[in-house]
């Protein structure tokens, strides 16, 4: 597997991860990720054909309950740590047409 991380890949990861990297950080990330992925490629030595991917250690299933409201209005708590708020909502920069 090719592990050379290109400039385009770093840009793409920046979009996925919602991170804006400086040129220096990008170079560092390219180097680090190439090394890490090369290291992770040693998993390819393992034959995992027919092995089910294991997300959970224990057999888990959905837990259902009746859809009954048990909590009270928590909006004050929810907004308590908001960097900016207005009229009982989170305030964010304008996102639709001006």
């Amino acid at each position: 597997m090719a592990n050379i991380i290109s400039d385009e890949t770093i840009e793409y990861i920046g979009i996925l991860a919602k991170l804006e990297l400086s040129e220096e950080e990008k170079e560092r990330a390219k180097k680090d990720m190439s090394e890490m992925l090369a290291y992770m490629d040693q998993l390819n030595e393992l034959d995992t054909d027919g092995v089910e991917p294991m997300s959970h250690i224990f057999p888990v299933s959905n837990v259902f309950r009746e859809d009954v409201v048990t909590n009270t209005d928590g909006s004050k708590d929810t907004l308590f740590n908001a960097p900016e708020k207005k009229d009982g909502g989170f305030l964010v920069p304008k996102t639709i047409g001006s």
Binding site: M1, T9, Y12, I13, G14, L16, A17, K18, L19, E20, L21, E25, A29, D32, M33, E35, M36, L37, Y39, M40, Q42, L43, N44, E45, L46, T48, V51, E52, P53, M54, S55, H56, I57, F58, V60, V63, D77, T78, F80, N81, A82, P83, E84, F90, V92, P93, K94, T95
Partner: protein, 487 residues
């Protein structure tokens, strides 16, 4: 009488007998922390006023016979990734520099209900990502045994605080060894329970399928009593497990006759420090003298645990840390153009280098085209590792080995080479992948005087077996539980 040299059980007993008041106990911890913090930096926040107020409330509850827990009135420190209502909770990250939770994590709440008094929040690697506590945005914590060395991580603040007597015990969290490795480096006892045993409600998530909260204390009796108090089925945590037996202190028995202990030969190969190896094998010898059946075996797959872990943990971290976007809580960039730029700038300015490294790696292994090759491959490897442990536990009650390949490194030596740092997790990480319980307890010191940790691993839900083996070993140690360094 130095209250800070007592175990939690001892101090709790004195409080119960009214030989020591809760205020005296809590003040002793606060004063010790105040004296030692300029050198150690174990804490992000010390809550002097809150703790003293709480001490009065707990004393009243004790006087009125409302509480009867061995930990009542005993001062505790909590890792700064567990939410505490009204008390700053930062995850040692700039992105949560001002976050004041409006609720308390279930594990902390269980302690408080039992009468424990939280004196403060301990330093950690940012978002629990690291092995040295050097990635904290609030400065590194120093190792109480030698101030030019790291305390380990990520629960380095909790372990240093216990070792230095700044608190009587602490809570940590363990995703890949974050309770056990710093416990080993700081000469204290730290236990990671079976996955699902302690509620994760209110624990700020790093790798949700791996994270577990556990106790850090002076000895195994304390760990058992703390675990008994914090373990519970909690419907607020969808991975919480209802267990049949929560009486962990019943396993504090000095008897390992006939107990089958396996030593993985593949834990003793290249890269293991000679002093660590000798101390751990000597501990095995002690248990054998007490009647345990000790055998060497091959666990297999050991080197593959690290890449599998970093793929899974980073993948989960990239998803879990998506919530930090400058909208709901924490840091928001001062200048930005539009919503997306605000997200990006807040995150880029708020996260430190290691957090960014893991978020990016996680985003990559989950991205289209790489998901099968990395993420699913890692989950398949995890299944094989679990099977290897299942086979081992068909033969053995307990697996014994070192906690870490070496003792605490010097400050400033680890972060420049991430892979080298990750290799230090080799003996702890597979335990998280398989969901197993494990404890690290002191078993000696190296030639430089730094503590060495012995790791005992049990099968899922078999905490009692490792507690019993640890307790039996403690009776053979000539320095009991005295990890106190001169600070």
């Amino acid at each position: 009488m130095n209250l800070m040299k007592m175990t939690a059980i001892e101090l709790g007993r004195k409080i119960k007998k009214r030989e020591v008041s809760v205020t005296e106990a809590v003040t002793a911890a606060l004063d010790a922390a105040e004296r030692k913090e300029p050198q150690l930096n174990s804490f992000v926040t010390i809550d002097r006023d809150g703790a003293r107020k709480q001490a009065g409330i707990v004393q009243k509850r004790l006087d009125e016979g409302e509480i009867d827990n061995p930990l009542a009135g005993v001062p505790v420190a909590v890792k700064d990734n567990m939410c505490t209502k009204g008390l700053l909770t930062t995850c040692s990250s700039k992105i949560l520099y001002n976050f004041i939770p409006t609720y308390t994590a279930q594990a902390v709440l269980s302690l408080e209900q039992a009468g424990a008094v939280v004196i403060g929040k301990t330093n950690m690697d940012e978002f629990a990502m690291g092995s040295t506590t050097e990635t904290s945005a609030f400065g590194e914590t120093k190792n109480p045994w030698n101030l030019s060395h790291v305390p380990g991580g990520s629960s380095g603040g909790s372990c240093a605080a216990v070792a230095a007597g700044e608190c009587t015990y602490a809570l940590g969290s363990d995703t890949g060894g974050s309770i056990r490795q710093p416990s080993s480096f700081c000469g204290v006892t730290g236990l990671k329970p079976t996955y699902g045993t302690v509620s994760r409600y209110g624990l700020i998530a790093y790798g949700s399928s791996l994270d577990q909260i556990g106790p850090v204390a002076k000895d195994i009796a304390d760990c058992a009593a703390i675990l008994e108090t914090i373990a519970s089925y909690d419907k607020k945590d969808s991975t919480s497990i209802r267990r049949d037996d929560y009486k962990f202190t019943e396993a504090l028995i000095d008897d390992v006759k006939g107990m089958k202990i396996g030593i993985p030969g593949d834990y003793f190969g290249e890269g293991l420090d000679e002093d660590v190896k000798n101390a751990v094998l000597k501990a095995a010898e002690r248990l054998k003298e007490k009647g345990a059946i000790v055998e060497e075996f091959d666990l297999s797959l050991v080197p593959y645990a690290i890449p599998a872990y970093y793929i899974i943990a980073c993948a989960e971290a990239s998803s879990n840390l998506a919530r930090f976007d400058g909208v709901k809580y924490g840091y928001r960039a001062k200048e930005y153009e539009g919503l997306h730029n605000m997200y990006k700038k807040s995150r880029s300015e708020g996260f430190g280098a290691e957090a960014k490294r893991r978020i990016m790696l996680g985003s990559f292994v989950l991205s289209s085209g790489y998901y099968d090759a990395y993420y699913l491959k890692a989950l398949r490897t995890k299944a094989l590792i679990k099977q290897a442990f299942d086979r081992a536990f068909e033969k053995y009650d307990v697996i014994l080995g070192p906690t870490a390949p070496a003792t605490a490194p010097k400050l400033g030596e680890s972060l420049s080479d991430p892979i080298q740092m990750y290799l230090g997790d080799i003996y702890t990480i597979s335990v998280n992948l398989a969901g197993l319980p494990a404890v690290s307890l002191p078993c000696g010191k190296d030639r430089a005087g730094l503590p060495i940790g012995l790791q005992l691993i049990g099968d899922c839900f078999q905490e009692k077996k490792i507690i019993r083996a640890a307790y039996a070993f403690e009776q053979t140690r000539n320095y009991a539980y005295s990890p106190f360094a001169e600070v």
